[in-house]
């Protein structure tokens, strides 16, 4: 088990760069997000990008609706959030079936793999089930060397086949948050 790194003090991981490159290739333009430490490197790449627009949200469900509107206007996007935000999205996820638009979300997981904070566990435990009950296919990446393939598959089925897809980025991958040293 490795600890979650502080983004500013340690070397950047390779997998967020791989995700960014795939999103670029699929021409994702609007990137709504509720911040999470596990997404911090990717969010920074998006905010620095000239082709993507990072859009901070007040709650995750806003991102589902935003991506529906973006698609209506001809743009693709991706929603970045933490597992605790998935529950906030449930009713709005109806839009993925109603509009059949290319919905892709990347979810950093909490509440698993050595979690310290019990408040993260209930939603983290039901994240996959909530997506599946809502008609969203779930793919999971647990190890750094599988992120690229998982992400490529997710982007392909979401953008090419309008199959609503969530990628769960495991807490084992992003590192367990350390509260007490």
């Amino acid at each position: 088990m490795h600890a979650r790194s502080e983004a500013s003090t340690e070397q950047a991981a390779a997998w967020p760069e791989e995700i960014f490159a795939i999103l670029q290739r699929y021409q994702a333009r609007q990137v709504p997000y509720v911040p999470d430490a596990g997404h911090s490197q990717l969010i920074q790449r998006v905010l620095d990008s000239s082709t993507m627009r990072g859009i901070p949200l007040t709650t995750e469900e806003e991102g589902v609706a935003l991506l529906a509107g973006a698609w209506a206007g001809g743009q693709r996007g991706v929603l970045l959030m933490q597992s605790s935000g998935v529950g906030n999205c449930i009713n709005m996820l109806s839009l993925t079936q109603i509009f059949r638009f290319p919905f892709l979300t990347l979810v950093t997981m909490r509440g698993e793999w050595g979690e310290f904070n019990p408040w993260q566990v209930p939603m983290g435990s039901s994240t996959q089930g909530v997506f599946e009950l809502s008609g969203v296919r779930v793919l999971r990446a647990t190890h750094p060397d599988e992120v690229k393939d998982v992400m490529e598959a997710a982007a392909s089925q979401a953008y090419n086949a309008c199959t609503p897809t969530a990628v769960l980025l495991a807490q084992r991958l992003i590192g367990t948050k350390v509260f007490v040293k």
């Binding site: 859009i55 007040t58 529906a68 973006a70 839009l95 638009f101």
Partner: protein, 196 residues
């Protein structure tokens, strides 16, 4: 339950869209969607029949992807209250081509007319302004709706927000299309986007 001197919602929306040109219109679920349908069907209409609280965000996604076209969101006070955070998100993005018009009857008309927070204490104009949309105002006359309709065509001066207190009478429903894929693909087609 009608009060004197309040505007008729159908007249407000038909006046707003009388000379809409290329405007894209998102209508919140319930009466706002019926108002949009009553004003005349158009491929550039995005009718919502659910997803309560999402109308402004759909308008934002649309506005950011089509920055040269006017985008207007027409929704009710209940729907706006549920998506109040989206005004803060709009305030940060500042899309110059986005206009938001709230039809405020101070009630949940679709479910029996239960009072909404705007009947008591909530001031949506104040909320919008405090969220970073300085061009936010209360509207009470059709003349102001005409001015708003003109302003919304200017895609370089938004975002703008207006709240209009309307008569709370429940009008006969005018049903729009409710097949989401049809509505979505028709709108995309009108903008030149092919199906996948």
């Amino acid at each position: 339950m009608s009060k004197a001197n309040l505007l008729d919602r159908r007249q407000v929306v038909s006046t707003l869209l009388a000379d809409r040109k290329e405007a894209l219109v998102v209508a919140g679920l319930g009466a706002s969607t019926y108002d949009l349908a009553a004003a005349g069907d158009n491929p550039r209409n995005l009718y919502l029949w659910g997803a309560m609280g999402g109308a402004v965000m759909m308008g934002l996604g649309l506005a950011l992807s089509q920055p040269d076209l006017p985008v207007v969101v027409v929704t009710g006070d209940g729907e706006m209250l549920m998506g109040m955070g989206s005004l803060a998100t709009v305030g940060v993005q500042k899309p110059k081509n986005l206009s938001i018009l709230v039809l405020d009857n101070e009630a949940y008309g679709e479910t029996g007319g239960q009072m909404s927070h705007t009947a008591a204490t909530a001031d949506l104009v104040g909320v919008a302004r405090a969220c970073g949309i300085p061009d936010s105002k209360a509207i009470s006359t059709l003349g102001e709706i005409e001015s708003f309709a003109e302003a919304m065509q200017d895609t370089s001066s938004g975002p703008r927000f207006a709240n209009v207190k309307i008569d709370a009478a429940n009008l006969e429903r005018v049903l729009s299309n409710r097949d989401g894929t049809y509505i979505m693909n028709r709108l995309r087609g009108a903008l030149g986007h092919a199906p996948i």
